[in-house]
């Protein structure tokens, strides 16, 4: 990268941006101006880039900066100057003032606790009151429990309904659970039933969350109540924010039994012969629509929105009966689990299985696994690198940055590889245009992240690889046969690079092997960057 050479047919973006920002070295300005007078393509590109920069400037001035104003009054620095001058004076307050301050702080904390302890409950109450008065439309539900799924009417009335599918074991089990928990089975996906169950709890913890679906177009409230005792431990009801109609219920019973109830659209009309009075009573065992790659892709998109599809011990699979998308997480924090629940709340037919324990992590032939190598022999190379870096401390900083960038590359490459395995062209070909666009957008995001992390890696290593990386060709591109083949290659190369970097920077090598790894490193980085760029440009 550098100033534009007039030997090139067109001016690269790098230089056009420099030119537009008046950052171009004076000696290159004239050549650029002459070229621009005769080349419409470069002139058009310059205008395009200027438009992009101007759009950001407008965003910066009119949207971002006003958002970044703090509401508080600015205080003068005077008091802080004084505290700099007399930092110790404040310590010599009489003890009684300290005691008074401590007592006051305790009072404030107690009052604060009383004021705010019920805040989520109050908010939940407000939402429920509004939701209960809305009359739910005539809907049907999809109930999922014990790996089985079936449809039923949203509301059941009368005994006949309760015996209509008595031979369905899981249905009976599920009904029994709801009855035992004193939660209405006749109308399980309603604010009214949720409120009635919640009201009877002697102890409870409430949480109200405002969430958005992955498209950002729909907002939902998720009301979650946790009971420390009883049959039903956690019930969560997701309501559309605009209509307050419930769309999903998640019920976590004792002994790790989960039931999920989703709004499944309008109730289909029954044949005319059927008594319309009994229409709502019939609980139909299912002809359930199977879930497929489209639904799985939606889950990936929702996880991507919160960054949970990269470098986290979360797996996504379709269950063997093709009734649900199983999202499994291992060793995640409670907070992260909650975020994933929220992100997936608007996605129907998903089941979440979280387990505590040690995460498996991304497959990583690691880094520092080279225990067979004697680090003593590595000393000359290491010393040379430390000297080039400007000392051991500086070398350590470079090492940290480079290994961070490499982990990012590996995690993103893994995520891209997973997409290529789940949605190869034959599968993606059958997608509707919106799904195809979602897949493309996910792939591109990973590719961009890899490319950026590669630039950061190059930056970090620049002091050590000075002569070799200086000539790295930014414009070189790697031709891969198709994006999914490229994704596989990219993942393999990312693993290789991570291993090389880990060994070289951690000092796990002999002098000879170390030198050989070191010599190959620039090529490996360059190859990876080219692969990432070809992924980014892939259709």
């Amino acid at each position: 990268m550098g100033s534009w050479s007039s030997n090139l047919p067109h001016i690269p973006d790098f230089d056009l941006i420099q030119f537009a920002d008046s950052e171009m070295p004076v000696k290159a300005v004239t050549a650029t101006e002459i070229h621009l007078r005769t080349c419409n393509k470069c002139l058009a590109r310059l205008d395009q880039l200027k438009n992009g920069a101007a759009a950001y400037d407008q965003y910066h001035a009119h949207l971002l900066k006003p958002t970044l104003e703090i509401p508080q009054e600015w205080s003068s620095l005077e008091a802080r100057f004084e505290s700099l001058e007399r930092p110790r004076n404040k310590i010599f307050f009489p003890m009684r003032i300290w005691w008074a301050a401590a007592a006051l702080a305790c009072c404030v904390m107690v009052i604060g606790w009383f004021l705010y302890r019920d805040a989520p409950s109050r908010r939940m109450q407000q939402v429920l009151v509004r939701a209960v008065v809305r009359t739910p439309p005539h809907r049907r539900l999809q109930v999922t429990a014990n790996g089985h799924s079936w449809y039923r009417a949203a509301t059941l009335q009368g005994e006949a309904a309760r015996h209509s599918v008595a031979d369905q074991r899981s249905l009976e089990d599920t009904r029994a659970l709801f009855v035992k928990a004193n939660y209405s089975w006749d109308d399980p996906l309603s604010a009214r039933s949720f409120a009635a169950w919640r009201k009877q709890l002697p102890e409870k913890r409430d949480q109200v969350l405002s969430i958005q679906d992955s498209s950002g177009n729909n907002r939902f409230y998720r009301l979650e109540t946790e009971a420390p005792t009883g049959v039903l431990r956690i019930a969560a009801l997701t309501l559309r924010a605009d209509t307050l109609n419930p769309v999903k219920g998640s019920f976590h019973f004792e002994h790790q039994r989960d039931v999920s109830i989703d709004d499944a659209g309008e109730m289909p009309s029954l044949p005319a012969a059927v008594d319309t009075k009994n229409r709502q009573r019939v609980e139909r065992p299912a002809v359930v629509k199977e879930v497929g790659p489209e639904e799985e892709l939606r889950v990936f998109a929702a996880l991507n929105a919160i960054g949970a599809d990269v470098g986290e011990p979360v797996t996504v699979d379709i269950d063997p009966a093709k009734q649900q998308i199983i999202v499994a997480g291992l060793g995640l924090s409670a907070n992260r689990e909650r975020q994933i629940r929220q992100a997936l709340a608007p996605v129907p037919n998903t089941a979440l299985h979280f387990k505590s324990g040690q995460p498996m992590g991304v497959e990583n032939q690691s880094a520092n696994a080279g225990g067979n190598y004697a680090t003593d022999n590595a000393a000359p190379l290491r010393h040379r690198l430390e000297t080039q870096a400007g000392g051991a401390q500086r070398f350590q900083l470079i090492t940290d940055k480079a290994l961070d960038a490499s982990s990012t590359i590996l995690a993103q490459a893994n995520a891209l590889y997973v997409l290529s395995q789940k949605f190869p062209p034959l599968v993606a070909f059958a997608f509707d245009p919106p799904e195809q666009e979602t897949l493309r957008s996910l792939r591109h995001r990973h590719a961009i992240a890899i490319e950026q992390a590669t630039v950061e890696l190059e930056d970090a290593l620049r002091p050590l690889l000075n002569s070799t990386t200086a000539g790295m060709d930014e414009t070189q591109s790697q031709q891969a046969t198709s994006w999914e083949v490229g994704a596989g290659q990219l993942y393999e190369d990312a693993k290789l690079l991570d291993t090389s970097l880990g060994r070289i920077l951690a000092g796990s090598y002999s002098q000879e092997v170390g030198q050989s790894i070191w010599n190959k490193l620039p090529d490996e980085i360059q190859k990876l960057e080219a692969l990432a760029r070809s992924q980014e440009n892939a259709p």
């Binding site: 395009q48 880039l49 900066k65 950026q452």
Partner: protein, 178 residues
């Protein structure tokens, strides 16, 4: 922002220095604070972090340190302090633009307002695909810093800044065109 060099050695030196720093603080605190917030420092701590930048300035000037480029120096210290504060935070606070306020601002016509909003939404979508470094470069560029100054603030080379901006502006250009 002009650097002020105090030459007298009388007892009023500290007071005059305080006055000078206070003036610089008044003129530049809004820009520095918005950068601090942009870097993810919680709103409650933003004023304190911003003031800390000027206290460092005061301390350095008291020690007689020569500050050649005040603006870049302030942004650099703000950058470093913010990263330190942010590393102690459990969750990264992202900036959510105030669309309501943007919509309410005075424009020539309702059509203009709709077009502006659409354009800004495209920019916002494009920004979501950028790395934090790229966004920081754009922010500092819009604050009027030169590439060399941005590089100094972020602790990278000028060519890296150029490269970050190339990628970011190319993506914004695509969004603005699309």
């Amino acid at each position: 922002m002009e650097e002020s060099v105090l030459t007298d050695s009388s007892g009023t030196k500290a007071a005059r220095l305080e006055y000078d720093v206070e003036q610089i603080y008044r003129q530049t605190r809004a820009a520095i604070c918005s950068y601090v917030l942009c870097l993810g420092v919680p709103e409650a701590q933003a004023q304190e972090v911003t003031q800390e930048v000027y206290l460092r300035l005061y301390q350095n000037m008291r020690k007689g340190e020569e500050i050649l480029n005040m603006r870049a120096w302030l942004f650099r210290v703000a950058h470093n302090l913010s990263l330190k504060v942010r590393s102690r935070e459990k969750a990264f606070r992202s900036v959510n633009p105030d669309w309501e306020r943007f919509t309410k601002r005075t424009v020539d016509s309702p059509e203009r307002a709709i077009l502006d909003r659409e354009k800004m939404q495209k920019v916002q979508t494009a920004l979501e695909t950028l790395s934090p470094q790229q966004k920081n470069c754009l922010f500092l560029r819009s604050e009027g810093l030169r590439y060399r100054e941005i590089a100094d603030v972020m602790g990278v080379s000028s060519s890296t800044v150029n490269e970050f901006l190339r990628r970011a502006i190319a993506r914004l250009a695509e969004a603005a065109d699309g």
